[in-house]
Structure formats: structure tokens, C-alpha cells
């Protein structure tokens, strides 16, 4: 199985090795992979959050189908939940990004590591 990540930038002490690493790290394919990683992480955390909080998203549906006068009440209940869900989503994506993407050279197979990190524990 191919190694999904490389040595981490922060662990490299040798200047020459660091320079070579950075030249690859800043290359176009690596930047595209990091962008894909961001999208994958956002989808993963978004789906996981939705799995647990989907009834919350029924509220706009109810607002739409019931009388418009009730809209403010429903939005009052909906908005804090959506806001916190967003905060949790962003924190989750950021943590995984820092843990699995930032400072690594992403090799082919990196989506698997991002989606199922438990399978890649050494």
C-alpha cells in the first residue's frame, strides 16, 4: 500500500531537506491535493454533523409550509443551532486539516487516510 503522507515539515531539521520539501510542498499538484483534502474534510464532517442533527433542518421546511407568522419563532430556534453546527464543523475540519494535511506531502491514497484515519494508525 502506498504511503498516504510523508514526513512532516516541522520534523525536518536539515536545511537542504527542508528546501527540497518546501519546493514540492508548494508545487501545483500538492496545492490541488490540499484543496481536495479541504473539500473531503468539509464533506466528511458535514455529513457526520447532518447525520446527528438533521431534525434541526426540518424547521425551515416547517416555516415554509406553515403560516408565515410563525417564521420568526422557528428562525429563533433554528439559527442558534445552525450557527453552533457551523462552528463545530469548522473546528472539526480545522483540527483534521492540521493533523493530517498541514505540513505533509500528500501521496496518492490520501483521501482514504482522511476519511478513515483509524485504518492508518501505525
Amino acid at each position: 500500500m502506498s504511503t498516504p503522507t510523508s514526513k512532516r515539515l516541522a520534523d525536518i531539521r536539515n536545511d537542504l531537506e527542508r528546501g527540497v520539501f518546501l519546493s514540492v510542498y508548494n508545487s501545483r499538484p500538492q496545492r490541488i491535493r490540499r484543496l481536495i483534502a479541504r473539500i473531503i474534510l468539509a464533506i466528511k464532517h458535514g455529513l457526520r454533523g447532518t447525520l446527528f442533527s438533521w431534525p434541526l433542518y426540518l424547521l425551515p421546511l416547517a416555516a415554509w409550509s406553515l403560516k408565515a407568522a410563525y417564521l420568526p419563532v422557528i428562525l429563533l430556534l433554528l439559527l442558534p443551532g445552525v450557527y453552533i453546527s457551523g462552528v463545530i464543523l469548522i473546528r472539526g475540519v480545522r483540527e483534521d486539516y492540521n493533523h493530517y494535511v498541514e505540513g505533509f506531502l500528500l501521496q496518492p491514497g490520501f483521501p482514504g487516510r482522511l476519511l478513515f484515519p483509524g485504518n492508518f494508525v501505525t
Partner: protein
Amino acid sequence: MFEPRPKEPAYAFVPAADAPAVNRYGKSIETVPQGHELRGQSLNINGDSSISDNPNRYKQHGFYFNADNCIACHACEAACSEKNDLPAHIAFRSVGYVEGGSYPAYQRMNISMACNHCDDPVCLKGCPTLAYTKYAEYGAVLQDPDICFGCGYCTWVCPYNAPQLDTAAGHVSKCNMCVDRLEAGLKPACVSACLAGALDFGIIETTPDNRDQLETQIPGFPTPQITHPNIRFQQTRSLPREMKRTDSMPLRYERDGQQQGDAYKPRVDESGAGRSWNLNKLSTREDPLVIFTLISQAVIGAFITLFTGPLLGFKTLSMSAHPIATPLLLFGLIGVQTLALVLSTMHLGRPHRFYRAFNNLRYSPVSREVAGIAVFYNFLGAYTLLSGLPMLFEWLPVWLTGGLIQLCGWGAVLSGITALYFMHSIYRIKARPFWNHWQVLTSFYGSMLALGPLVTVLAYIAAQALQGQPWASATNGFAWVIFSGLAVEAIGLVYHARDLQRNGAEGMASHYEQCTKFGMTYLFRNTGIAVSMALLALIGLMNPGGATGLFLWVAAAVAISVTGLIGRALFYALVIPTTMPGGFFWRNKGFEEHARETGLAGMPQVGVLPGCH
């Protein structure tokens, strides 16, 4: 591998000693048998895959504390903090003390305590994320802060205050037995730093050099029966019959008999304080849980009322009787339950790891409660969607929609009731005697029976009044259901108070605080329950309508809500754990409160985080 210093003295190494086959609790000292698959594996400390050749690697090790020798120099704390790079507000090992006698026969006994790497680690079973592991290597109980999401449940269940919740970092961490040093044959850092020869370490049930006793208890140490801790004590110095704590907990330790070897038992240290309100001290770190538990119980109760009401003859609660109000109430319940879930999630140190709460369904009541509430929430959502927005499902056969509605409704009822049972089992903790009583169950189900129908009846009155319809005739049944919920709670409270006084120890100390420090608040809450019951009985018997009826219902609703809120806040504020004694400044809740009030907590060296409870 950890590198021993050159010329490390012999006493810095763990001695080889012959240990018995089993410890005093009947558990094998050899952690795994010869040839077991767990043998010969690396601990991978800091990525190092080497394997120690320590011949005693698979034997249960433990600390040894000689209370006669400890001078409370705190060198063990300092060594531990330095070794583990701990911030000032966290200590894996801490020194507390109890004192007794009077001048010139004053005596003080110091206790240095860290994790005891128990045979039956309650932290491991309680952790919902599976962050704890009891290793075959040295029998060490290790915790992974990277897995932990900072719920702090392990800090509730541990009787020794070993797991440390770092509210700044958002996770728990604890003593790791210095397994890296053990791999090199060295004793843990705290033991190596001990100046007075009070701390020692080795294979459990072996007596270190120059020691005689292998006791499992000393004054101030909680009963070892809860977790079978791997620590042994020596304490030969004669002590006064009564030893007191210096922290703010109203506890002292009293020897049962006249002999020096007799066990010390915790007793309430009555200060003679009168009844106070202390409303500002009702607020704790667990405030979100006050809201979460009450809302969850109210929502489950309200749904059960709405769903089973029409089946029991309350036709006025059916969807056909109120095609707008009933779906609106259901959507409102979803919104409020979401807020409760959000509050409880944000109460975690790392809320974005909430999904790890399901990791330990086998053992952890927290995992089971979260799963129960999640299942209820999903059934509630599905039921609301199917019954509240039927126009979305007109393409489905009517029998299928009806069947799905019934399935989701009954699923929500059963999962809600089960979730509340699991919610109660979270608090049945031996290390917290104030909670470890069946009253928690009556309180939670009582709140469900009281708050749920209350929400429903208020919505019903509002819906009927808006339509200009009479509402009084159908509400007296609700009044008796709510009355029964409050009665269940009241009966539980009476037995709880009685049993706390009978059982003594930390539970009685909590009850003492309930009657003194929070005496007026406690009285107010109990009076509130009685007043609520009287109002409901009046409504149930007289069935008043119009302005009088409305006034009585609003008064009952206010009384029930306020008493419910105060009662639940008291539930969290009053608990006194069976924890180790603290010092005057350290591990002292009273000093922490003082430091926060005076601004001392702003100085990091004080070791108290500002703005935390």
C-alpha cells in the same frame, strides 16, 4: 527509549522482588500469562518501537506511600510537572494533608497522591470515547488526550481525583506511571525526586526496603473497595482520634476504635453555620447540563403526552383537532431539544469531537445516554416530518405513512424513556454518594412527568384560546399527571435526605451543606414543590376556567419551572466526591472561589484558571 543518567544510583531503579501470584483482591499480579499475544509488544513511546527487556514488564506495579516520612515538600509534584511539562493549574500528583490534635500535640499527616492504576479502573469504564487503556505493561492505566473530548466524566467517577480536566486545553490528562522511565528500569520521576523516602514504587504487594506495612488505607483515603487501587501505605505514627481536612469540604476523619490500627471513617465536620441562600454559588461548570437534563426530560415528557394522549382518550391533543398547533409544538420541541443538545455539546472541551461519545456503548453510561437521546431525537424528527408535513408524503400509500408514524412515535416514546434511564445511570457513581441514590431516577422521571405535560397543556390552552374555544374541561387530567410527577420527585427527595443522614460520610456532608450553605434555597425549592402540588390539586379538583384558571396555570407553571431549575442546580452544586484531602491553597474549592473573586486567579502561578468552576 528513555536514557538513564550516567552514574544513576541503584535506588533509582525498580528493584527485582518476588511477588505473590495474586494481590489482596484476588487478582493475578501477572497482567497477562506467558505466551499471550499482548506480550513482547512495543509501547511506541514518542515513536520509539523498541521493546524493553525488563523481566517484570508484565507484572502489576504500583506506588508505595510512607505517610510517616512525608514532609510535604512537594518535590514529587514539581518533578511530575517538570517531567510532563504541565501548566500551573494541572498536577498529576498532588500533596494534601489532614491535621488533628491541639498545641502542643498537634499532628499533621501529609498524603501524596496520583493515579493508582487500579485493578478495576472506573475511569476506563466511564470514558465514552475509549481514551483509557489498561496496559499489560506494568498494569499502567494510560489516557490518550488526543482521543479525549473533554467531557470530564472520568473526573467524576475517580475517587482519587487522578484524571485532571484541563479546561484551557479542552481535554483530560493524567499520571502515566512514567512508563518511559519504567521501560529503562527507572522508578517514576516523582519517586526519584522524593527527599524524605516517603514515595516508593515497585511490583504490587512487595514491601520496599526499610518498610514494614502494606496497608490499603490511611486517614483521608477513600475506600479501596470502589476500584481496588494499586497503592500501598505505611503509617505507624500515632495520630489523634480525629483528623480534619484543611480544605473547604465539611469533612473530618474519625477513628472507629481506640486502637491505632483502627480505620478512620469520614464524618461531617459541622461548623454550626446557619441557613443561607448562596444563589451565586448555584452556578457551576455543569450549568449547561442543568439546562440539558431539564429540557430533555421536558421534551420527552411533552412528546409522550402528545403521542399517547389521543390513544388514552385526550382527543383534543390529536393532529386533527389542532392541525396547526400540534405540528408547531412538535417543531418547537425539535428546536428546543436541539438547543439542549447544542448546550451539552458546547460544554465539552472539544465539541467538534462529539461523535466519539458513542465509542464505549458497552460500558459507559455517557455513551448510552447520548445514544438514547440521539435515537429519540431522530425518531422525534421522523415523526414530526411524517405527521406534521403530510403534504410531502401524499405519494406514499396511506397505510405505509400511518405505519411509519406509529413506528416512529412508539420508537420515540421507548427510546426517550430508555434515554432517561441511562441519563440517571450516569450519576450512580460510588465516588459521589450524594448522587448514588435511586432518587436521581425519581427526579428525572418526575421532571419528565411534570414538565412534559406542563409544556403540552400550556400550548393547548394557548391554541384553544386563540381559536376562542373553551379549554378548562380538558385540563384537569393534565393537572393530575403533573401532580403525580411532582409527587414522585417529592417522595424521592424525602428518602434521599433520610438515607444521606443514615449513611453518613460524604453524602451526609452534602446534605449538611444542603441544609446550611444552601439551606434557604433548599427550603425555597421544597416549598415550591409543595405550592406547585397544592395549585395543581386545586386545578384538578375545581377545574377553573377563564381568568382564574389561567392565573392558576401560569402560577403553577412558574412555580414548577423555578423549583425545577433550582433543584437541578442544587443537584450539581452540592455533590461532594470521595476525593483526597487537599491543602490550604491547593485542591481547595474554597481557595479557588476566593482566588476568582479577588482576582488572584489572574496570576498563572496561583494555579487556578480564572472564570472556570
